[in-house]
Symmetry: C2
Subunit: 395 residues, 2 copies
């Protein structure tokens, strides 16, 4: 079906939403499902809903649906927790697979929480592991026989710069390292065939391009042939082979289910499940193609109108995710002025104005209209207004 | 105000809900709040809701409200994740505080996931720690100078048997061990003064007696004077001192906030926040008193009517949480027959029929009516019906 599919979303009038890369908008189906899970399932079925509404298999069902969007076979994706937790699970399991190596290799473009979680794990293990950060463009060359794990985010959260997943995964494997991909800015933005890359692990979040809602659960993929070697650091009862047998000793489930931890967030998982319905009618290749068209148009319009803004994203659409970023020294204030005018993007420290392009609910008219408002804010120095200077808690 | 407060909950007609110890029912306020957070905040405010609806401080605000119910000062309770994750955080931090000791002491009455998480941590650290389990009644006597951490659940999930928090905490401290209390079946069921016990950590879940909804987030308490010594194993960006500075190196927040991990589950936290409104009008001492009255009445009614059922809970109300359990060999089938007749309790392997008493929405008539239906099911051997034999996924 042709894009966009604005009718599937509840987006306020007079808003051009260019922040779906941070929090996707509300799918109408999720609105209805929210009502159903809260009022009917929780309210009326109560505890019986674990069986009657099949809450118990919801994490697996949602995992399979995400799997279809990232090229992962059924049963290989577990959902729940947050992306930070899923990073920890992947990393802890990966280090166990390479006991003689001490280096976790990542890059300075990775989202900070991935690096922090690695730090926390290293301190917990306390056996001299090292988190080594290279510049994003140098990472492939830094992979050597000391490296236990290469952990990277596919699409840079600030610039949208993409790593070559196939090439880096191959380099990691050639050096004997385990590969972990963070797909936070990938899943739902473009086709990805994670199983074909042969990477051991992938993780991601679902509140961005998958529109699962604020704080929606995360996911983790494990390459099916290694699941038996994946030792769960976070050995929760929902990852037990028989959770309701209430055994005193942990026995991991045989499948990726072993990476489930505690009681699943049923309400948020239900919202995500409903949000995924959108993808039943949309082809990911079309999404990618349209996103590139929109991004090209936006770059061209903004650069023509606002020479003050400097493109921070790769100019080559094939090297760029589904966002366009510009640096501008007064970017924070300028973004507040834009938001005030209904053009909602976001700001990333120190000077990046970030705009996400999601062809599910954006078209060319939106891109041009957004560029016009950006021109107004920049050319007229609207951002100088004192009311746009004060930093909010969340930037 | 007098109990019960049935008008605050949306409980189906013809149901006597004796499973609030597993999943609390839907508070009407949570129903309204769910609609608001999904449709208005997510739908209309979109990303702006982090500031406008103050999503960003929701975990702390909810933490403070839980703190009031467990005797913890403002700023000492962090919310998010699952109880399993919070157990891991407490345990990892506690072991770091006692580097020369290798024993985690718990008991065989602990909920399995607490034990599993300890196992997972021990394997992750891989330095010869030992999870030692004693019988619940022997645990105080097992605390010695080898013990790094004593980790117990206050109220036994199967029998309702309560530990003496003050005495065991004192014994742990006398032996130089760190104390972790799991308040899963305590918070919202009875008064507890966690700060006064002097325990270093407490954790708990909010979907039982706090009525936060299925998969509601968990909480962790840290004794304020030790927070600087708490090293976060799960070092997520939301626990960073400046999450939005996007620094490459982790610096923990100065407060209990350092035990936040990833992006908070905003929808579930909002439901929980609304559910906590119930407690603004209710005194926890009254709750405890009424719960004991209801439990005594129920025990008396059931024992008079059904000699086949054997009380598995302590007979002394002062030693019992807010649930009453009976063993019955055909307990699973009997419970299915009861549920079919609107008396909703639950079953715990191998033979425990479990009934929770929550005076927020239960009165003496409910207790007697439930006992009558239990009598019908047991005396007439209704549980023999083949339809009650088949085990569901969730028991």
């Amino acid at each position: 079906m042709p894009l966009p599919r604005k009718e599937l979303f509840d987006i306020p009038r007079n808003v051009i939403y260019l922040d779906g890369n941070s929090l996707g908008p509300l799918p109408k189906g999720a609105m209805e499902r929210g009502q159903a899970v809260i009022c009917n399932e929780w309210g009326q079925q109560l505890i019986r809903a674990w069986n009657r509404a099949d809450w118990i298999s919801l994490p697996q069902r949602v995992g399979d649906r995400i799997g279809q969007l990232i090229g992962a076979p059924n049963g290989s994706v577990a959902t729940g927790d947050t992306l930070s937790i899923k990073v920890y699970q992947a990393l802890a399991a990966a280090l166990k697979m390479r006991p003689d190596r001490k280096v976790i290799l990542s890059d300075t473009g990775n989202f900070p929480t991935d690096l922090y979680m690695a730090e926390g794990l290293i301190r917990t293990i306390d056996k001299g592991h090292d988190l080594r950060l290279s510049a994003p463009e140098d990472v492939a060359g830094e992979i050597n026989a000391d490296v236990a794990v290469v952990m990277l985010t596919h699409v840079d959260y600030r610039t949208g710069r993409m790593h070559d997943m196939a090439a880096i995964t191959a380099a990691a494997h050639e050096a004997g390292a385990v590969m972990i991909w963070d797909l936070a800015h990938t899943a739902g933005a473009m086709p990805v065939e994670i199983a074909r890359t042969n990477a051991e692990f992938a993780v991601g979040c679902t509140y961005k391009y998958l529109n699962g809602g604020p704080g929606a659960p995360a996911f983790i993929y494990v390459r099916p042939d290694i699941i038996e070697n994946v030792e769960p650091a976070l050995a929760g009862w929902m990852g037990h082979d028989a959770p309701f047998a209430m055994e005193l000793v942990y026995r991991p489930a045989f499948s990726t289910e072993r990476l489930r931890v505690g009681t699943p967030p049923v309400v948020q998982l239900s919202l995500l499940d409903a949000a995924l319905d959108v993808w039943d009618q949309v082809d990911m290749n079309e999404i990618r193609h349209a996103s590139q068209e929109l991004s090209e148009l936006f770059i061209s319009e903004v650069e023509t109108r606002c020479p003050e803004l400097c493109l921070a994203s790769p100019r080559d659409g094939g090297m760029r995710g589904s966002q366009v970023s510009f640096t501008f020294e007064k970017g924070y204030a300028a973004m507040q002025a834009l938001i005030d005018r209904g053009v909602i993007g976001d700001f990333r420290s120190p000077d990046i104005m970030r705009f996400g392009f999601t062809p599910l609910y954006l078209d060319k008219h939106d891109c041009v209209a957004a560029a016009e408002i950006i021109e107004e804010v920049i050319s007229n120095e609207v951002w100088r207004d004192p009311k746009y200077q004060k930093k909010a808690k969340v930037t």
